[in-house]
């Protein structure tokens, strides 16, 4: 929050599928230290934007800069090695690994990347122990040696979050973190996000307005591929175009 260059800067990002512009010249910044929400009705272009940031899709034009570094066309793994880590909408763990091992997977890239000072964990055993501390943070110690396939879905979600943090990301991308969850599970995820925000900037894509309003410091609203609002949650909530887009979509 101290420096003025944003952690992530999107400039006129555009992506079309067969003549239809899924994302049409979208520009916004994600500032370091914030929880930033990317929202909009169905077909607004949230997922396409998300995919362009994490590298699952490549933008037709425009630019993506992370910490000033141009990453628009970089492959996904390269972005991940630069500190952009994502979670998946459908929980994506290795079912035959234990919870501990799944979280450990997150620290693999940092095992030898000592240069940028992100990794105290040069050695394998240190990384393994660091994971144990992380598991403690996320209340996962008691299931550490259980197979990932055996633990309930909300716990798996926490495992995913812990794994993402094991990668020591500077920017954490959350793809619909509370999709299909009950109210109490949502508040659990909300608490986990509160914990995460101390160490990483978060950009999350989400449908659920209530959740977004309570979790995010800043919101960007897309509708039919265009950016229609960008600002503080309260301002966005009052924005007429946003209300119209949401009511229009629901009517």
């Amino acid at each position: 929050m101290t420096d003025t260059t944003p952690l992530l800067a999107l400039q006129s990002l555009t992506k079309g599928y067969g003549g239809v512009l899924a994302v049409d010249s979208v520009s916004f910044d994600v500032r370091a230290g914030t929880v930033h929400g990317l929202i909009g009705p169905n077909g607004a272009g949230k997922t396409t934007t998300f995919n362009m940031i994490c590298g699952a899709t490549v933008a037709d034009s425009g630019s993506i800069r992370h910490n000033g570094e141009e990453l628009t066309r970089a492959p996904g793994w390269k972005r991940a090695s630069r500190g952009i880590t994502r979670t998946f909408q459908n929980i994506s763990l290795v079912p035959e690994y234990t919870v501990h091992e799944n979280v450990f997977l997150g620290s693999l890239p940092s095992l030898t990347k000592g240069k940028r000072g992100r990794a105290r964990t040069q050695r394998y055993d240190h990384a393994w122990a660091a994971v144990a501390a992380l598991l403690d943070d996320f209340d996962l110690s008691s299931v550490a040696s259980r197979l990932a396939a055996e633990v309930p879905a909300p716990v798996q979600k926490r495992v995913e979050l812990a794994r993402a943090l094991a990668a020591q990301p500077s920017l954490l991308l959350l793809d619909e973190p509370v999709a299909g969850m009950t109210e109490s599970e949502r508040s659990e995820v909300l608490m986990a996000i509160e914990k995460v925000r101390a160490t990483a900037t978060i950009l999350l894509v989400e449908h659920d307005m209530k959740f977004v309003m309570s979790a995010c410091d800043r919101l960007t609203v897309l509708d039919r591929g265009r950016l229609i609002a960008d600002g503080l949650p309260d301002d966005v909530r009052a924005d007429e175009e946003v209300i119209k887009a949401y009511l229009g979509a629901e009517a």
Partner: protein, 346 residues
């Protein structure tokens, strides 16, 4: 002994965490190798036939441990390990029958030739998914054998190459079955310990993660295609090195010995070892499957039939392979141990 506090303690696994994958100990592997090293002294002294059969089994096992890196770890079905084994054998045959070059040097050349072949073949094919990759490797297999058959004077055509020099280590020529037993066992030890060490290393984790879920690997900064290329090169280097040793041990090679049937046998062995390609399980499966026909000699004519049936039954009833069977037995044993503990508490 039966205080409630003690009961609670025994139910929660405290701070001891199982590391079934990460911290797979090398001890069982080292122990197995040690047992194999002692076998000739204890049981097989003088059983020259069995010593030769086992030497062959060790070569197959080494080739399979290599293949397991591609098929078990990276989950890429490869039907071309047999041909790449042949590349190593022919590299040895072509050089050693023409020039007076020490064995270790030819071995090195073979390993590099294999790894290079792996690299050349991997680059265009690794972007293929699942069954398509498997089919591409069948093509590779046939292409290499075709080249060996049509290689004219260089490869000796369909008759292959004969008259390789004896394997020589530190100036000593090895030819007795007992000596060849230890030569092949030494190679298997090198290969399996290397693979066992790789399994635990970062690169091993990364190769296995690309096999489990390539999207996930990509999202965690692992260059998926590069890791698969490395896996393929490792498997090919090990395969070709083993082929080179094969050429020295038998002294004769022909292209058909490295055909699609040989590749299929290697692949079946890896799958019987277990779907994750654990080193020890793959090794044990290779030795058992090679020994099986020897013990089926009393069935004479229907030997191959019985062999085929045994393989089919294993696949049907133990789809997790040897390591799957082991895991099941182990969890049953642990379940039994905890249950009996629980019973004494009441």
């Amino acid at each position: 002994m039966t205080s409630p506090a003690h009961a609670a303690e025994s139910l929660t696994p405290a701070s001891s965490v199982d590391y079934p994958y990460a911290h797979t100990s090398l001890l069982p592997l080292v122990g197995t190798l040690a047992v194999l090293a002692l076998l000739p002294a204890v049981f097989l002294a003088g059983d020259l036939y069995m010593l030769s059969v086992l030497a062959g089994a060790f070569l197959t096992a080494a080739a399979c441990v290599g293949l397991a890196i591609v098929t078990g770890w990276a989950k890429l079905l490869s039907f071309s390990q047999g041909a790449i084994y042949g590349v190593g054998a022919y590299a040895a045959g072509i050089i050693a029958t023409r020039h007076d070059v020490p064995m270790w040097l030819i071995m090195t050349v073979s390993i590099l030739a294999g790894a290079l072949t792996g690299l050349v073949l991997a680059l265009p094919t690794l972007r293929l998914q699942g069954a398509y990759f498997g089919i591409a490797t069948i093509g590779i297999q046939m292409l290499i054998i075709g080249l060996l058959v049509k290689g004219g004077d260089l490869t000796g055509g369909p008759t292959g190459i004969a008259g390789l020099p004896l394997p020589t280590v530190w100036g000593k020529e090895l030819f007795e079955p007992g000596e060849l037993y230890y030569l092949t066992l030494a190679w298997l030890a090198v290969v399996s310990l290397l693979a066992g060490w790789l399994w635990r290393s970062r690169i091993g984790w990364e190769i296995r993660l690309t096999g489990h879920n390539s999207g996930l690997a990509d999202a965690f900064g692992i260059p998926v295609v590069r890791r698969k290329v490395i896996a393929f090169m490792l498997a090919s280097g090990i395969g070709a090195g083993t082929g080179c040793l094969h050429a020295y041990v038998y002294g004769v090679i022909d292209p058909f010995g490295f055909g699609i049937q040989f590749s299929a046998v290697l692949l079946i062995i890896v799958l019987l070892g277990g779907k994750h390609g654990r080193v020890l399980a793959t090794m044990v499966a290779a030795i058992l499957i090679t020994l099986l026909p020897e013990y089926l000699r009393s069935f004479a004519d229907i030997r191959l039939l019985v062999y085929g049936l045994v393989v089919i039954c294993l696949v049907l009833f133990a789809p997790g392979g040897l390591s799957g069977l082991w895991d099941r037995a182990w969890s049953l044993f642990r379940g039994f141990a905890t249950n009996s503990k629980g019973a004494t508490l009441k």
